[in-house]
Point group: C2
Chain length 621, copies 2
């Protein structure tokens, strides 16, 4: 340390008044050596990176969020609010760079809009009343009302309205990767549903709706390329525009069991939609076509243990495929049991049993009709029927007198998701081709595209002049004067922090996390016992001193802990490739190379190491 | 476009159900060509970057913020809140990378703490009541109280308290570059005093105060290196810790006329301090040492035009150097005139004149003593005396009867800065060496270092065990049991967005902005008339196709506007080097190279271009 301090003192700022000012230097002296570990400024060593270890014991049901915390990627600061630690930051940074690449290829420019926006602007767009419950809002010291932006349609439209005047400045594509805010009612599963999160939001501006439609298609292409570069399967589904406005919208979903959404895909045509969307779509044609198509519903009945409550579970039958015994005898009672724990599943003729209850009740003198013993009907309605105006509880009224019975309707499962009585086992007929059967699966939304049209530009005055506008020679012609037209907009989101959580969940296994190469905190980790650190440094240099154009992102685990501990930790962290100087190294000088993702575990001589690592990285994509 | 769309269709997602899922690909196909301009994905062209042009007419007093807006770097969204546009983002991004380099050399790890923090945590640290007026705070849907962090001492201390247990995990250095929030009473000068801003904040954690002192010195060294790499002169001054806590603190100032601070430097020793600090420092010794040191004050008197108000301007005399005629006859009346526009500067004996006013007043019958004509004394007190407990307005009471006169005291100039009556022309004697004269200058704070000690770790329970703690063999010894000790902390800020504004101001000239090479949006701009764009592309490739290790960041201005317009715009934007294909190119094939910063304008043959550009970049540092 002494020589380092001597260097520092020699450039001390306060030695004499003249040194208070630095003149611009032509060259920076070398930066001092990193303080800890065996790294110089160009070697990356784990001893120089803060990786706190959390809970050491693991629960058997630990999800990916638990692994992210345990491996030291992040920590929760408040409910639904997180600190990204160095490993998490590296993943996030690489994901941002990857998005930069894909969006630059789309001709989009990166900007950075303010997180604070004004309530007044959101009132002008008309969106505030619809989203206010999910908004963090506050007043400044002068009483002006502000909010933390959940998305930036308002701000970007106001900005473009201020800056862009002519069709010549369009098309325009602007994106940012910034923090967004949403006061979720139930923040959960770590980064998957957070209240402060990172989002990539792209906004597009076109003169005509044709050009906007082209833009929409181009962005869909870029999204496909982006998800593909992460090796991530996805389903693109038709979606509901909701409060965002506009009339064309798609969601990008990762099929995953912990997903909050249900998406349906047709086995025969290209139809794919959010189940929420399906309900809206099915609603209209169903009633009209029911006669020809033999669309029908069926009811499954049960009774409560106290015999007071009749349970009607209403579900659709629209294709012969949909009626199968497992759906009737297996899936439905299971779903009903979840909603009505009191269900007596051993009864064969629930309706007959319950009609006796009614009979007894109606024979009682009025003064003995206790309110707690009124017979009830609980109608559980599958989501496919719930939104169908053609469906009415017709059969219900046939079986009893109206006055004695209390009726209720249940449309949602305990966890708030739409009630799916028929489950994965079978489903609707496709609303597009009419023949294919729809498959339902759980999925997690990782991206969304909206064609907004003039929803925002109209209200916030984002207009452009068309060719010939303001040109006297054109005005004199008989044709109508070209006017200012509102800009055709689109908005396109990808949840960056959510994607980190989703990727962690999707690729993790019993050993730990597994990162796609392009966003792994490091591509390769070199592990060795503390006594072999100098040899680990040599191996590090061997891999990095390559003449290939793209440098490999390697890290050396030079921490003073045992090799077995390092190996377990490396499996948890999820580096794509591990290089281990272990017992084979000591015995015969062989280096062990592991790649869990490709199922590879191989011993190589040092001279073949570089080639093997390069080949594995190539194969990892 | 047609071939591009054909490519897109061929990978269409919804063509058949099997293509809904993408299998991980080993390699990404090439990204499509950029849509507009003459660039392929690897060439950077201004036609592909959104640079809105704002106001075209300029005011003669336009400051750097006006230039930043006009050149398209940023726009204001709300008072003190800004959107960074693509050019501004590039500068910010480069500044962040530069900070990353300097902080990595210091062994610091980058994290990203949440912007939202809880009021409860700030109450626990005891800081909330002191800063609450500058805080944006709000409640979530459940009524929990949160705030937008202005700095992150609380959060980082709570995080480290949770993650770090042993002295072995220290020293630890964590930093982030994130948005911060401060509800400034008077946001102004664009990025220089904003309400939402980017700050680099580093936090350090040491076991002992000795080690913390070493850390403090190392960070000071890193700060010096960082500012030097920007070619920015700075003054490091002793400062007041204020609400931050701790007892050692320095500010880094850029001497600049638009600065809000006054800093003083000694002409003979290494003393440098914020004037605010000086007042505190001088206060104590002054009273004690006044006898020996002949510290004294003097009063300059004036009278208002209506003869009702006597003006006493109190200022210090502490060295023979400080008493000079310009200070008395020149500077003081000028400063007084600013505060009291009603001053009659033509009067020779103001006190005698005003005593006559008193006399007349006291002779009036009580019923004629109009409140608007009560004689007044206005005491203007130089900031050096204002904080001095040894200074009392002793002489004031000697000259009149107490009952008739209304007295007031003024300590600040109209713009809110401490009243400096003696001005730059002369000043105090240095409180450190006692001989040197202090020079006062306007300055802008661009960085701050605080040794916090255990101010936060004590209250938030961030402790570590010392060697031997918990070890039975040690415990059995007679020596006291080593205990948990609070961590010694430091915090170190650099205002990133403020620095962008400060650099813009410091280096700009009449032509426009001038960026240091390391953070310029592009290092080199190639300019040509639209008809010569293909030749511009050749020149672009000539410079970038270099075998040198560091690629040059070049941009081609391929927009469809005239060359003179491009040249004026390039001067405004402030690229370090301009390469122009103009009249000399047309006439004899010579390329013009300009570097305003180095005062260079040269014609070169194409074959010498690359070398000249490299040399200029080297000289720019």
């Amino acid at each position: 340390m002494s020589s380092y301090f001597a260097t520092r003192r020699s450039i001390s700022l306060t030695a004499n008044p003249s040194s208070l000012f630095y003149a611009p230097a032509t060259k920076l002296p070398d930066t001092p050596l990193q303080r800890r570990g065996h790294s110089t400024s160009y070697r990356q060593c784990l001893s120089g990176i803060w990786i706190p270890k959390g809970v050491t014991s693991t629960s058997p049901n630990e999800d990916a969020h638990g692994k992210l915390v345990r491996a030291g990627f992040l920590r929760q600061s408040h409910p639904g609010i997180f600190h990204m630690l160095p490993l998490g930051r590296r993943v996030q940074d690489k994901l941002e760079r990857l998005l930069d690449d894909h969006l630059r290829a789309l001709g989009a420019s990166r900007i950075s809009l303010s997180s604070i926006t004004s309530k007044q602007l959101w009132q002008q767009s008309g969106r505030f009343p619809h989203v206010s419950s999910e908004i963090f809002d506050f007043r400044d010291r002068k009483g002006s009302e502000y909010l933390l932006s959940p998305t930036h349609e308002e701000e970007v439209t106001a900005l473009v309205a201020q800056c862009v005047n002519s069709y010549k400045e369009l098309p325009l594509r602007l994106y940012q990767i910034t923090r967004k805010y949403r006061d979720e009612i139930r923040p959960r599963r770590g980064l998957l549903r957070a209240r402060e999160f990172i989002m990539k939001d792209l906004y597009t501006f076109d003169t005509t709706s044709n050009s906007a439609a082209n833009t929409y298609v181009e962005v869909q292409h870029a999204y496909a390329m982006f998800f593909r570069s992460l090796g991530l399967p996805f389903v693109r589904v038709e979606a509901n525009s909701g409060e965002m406005g506009g009339n064309l919208s798609h969601e990008y979903h990762l099929p995953i069991s912990i997903g909050d959404d249900l998406v349906v895909t047709c086995c025969q045509c290209d139809y794919a939609a959010n189940a929420e969307m399906l309900r809206n779509q099915v609603a209209v044609p169903l009633d009209q076509k029911s006669a020809q198509r033999d669309v029908d519903w069926q009811v499954w009945r049960g009774i409560s243990k106290d015999r007071l409550t009749l349970i009607n579970a209403w579900f659709p039958i629209r294709s012969s495929l949909a009626i199968n015994s497992s759906g009737l005898s297996g899936a439905i009672p299971r779903v009903v049991q979840e909603v009505v724990p009191d269900l007596d599943s051993s009864v064969d003729h629930p309706l007959a049993l319950w009609l006796k209850t009614i009979q007894r009740w109606s024979q009682r003198p009025i003064q003995h009709r206790d309110i707690a013993t009124i017979p009830q009907v609980l109608n559980l309605i599958d989501y496919r029927l719930g939104a169908d105006p053609g469906f009415r509880l017709r059969e219900v009224s046939n079986v009893w007198g109206t006055s004695h019975v209390q009726q209720s309707v249940i449309l949602q499962a305990k966890n708030g998701t739409p009630l799916d009585l028929v489950g994965d086992a079978n489903a609707d007929r496709c609303p597009r081709c009419g023949d294919g059967v729809l498959k339902v699966m759980k999925a997690l939304e990782i991206g969304h595209t909206f064609h907004l049209g003039t929803r925002y530009s109209d209200r916030l005055g984002a207009t452009v002049s068309l060719p010939g506008y303001g040109n006297p020679s054109t005005r004199e012609m008989a044709a109508p004067i070209p006017a200012l037209v509102p800009i055709q907009m689109g908005c396109y989101g990808i949840g960056v922090s959510r994607l980190i959580g989703a990727i962690a969940q999707y690729f993790s296994d019993d050993h730990g996390l597994q990162w796609p190469r392009v966003i792994a905190p490091f591509e390769v980790a070199v592990l060795c016992a503390p006594a072999l650190t100098a040899e680990g440094v040599n191996v590090y240099d061997m891999i990095t001193n390559s003449s290939r154009p793209r440098p490999i992102d390697v890290v050396l685990d030079d921490r003073p802990v045992s090799l077995p501990w390092k190996m377990k930790d490396a499996d948890l962290v999820g580096y794509p490739i591990l290089i281990i100087l272990g017992k084979h190294w000591k015995a015969q000088g062989d280096i062990e190379v592991q790649c869990r993702r490709l199922g590879i575990r191989r011993l190589v001589r040092p001279e073949s190491l570089q080639e093997l690592v390069h080949n594995l990285l190539e194969n990892l994509g």
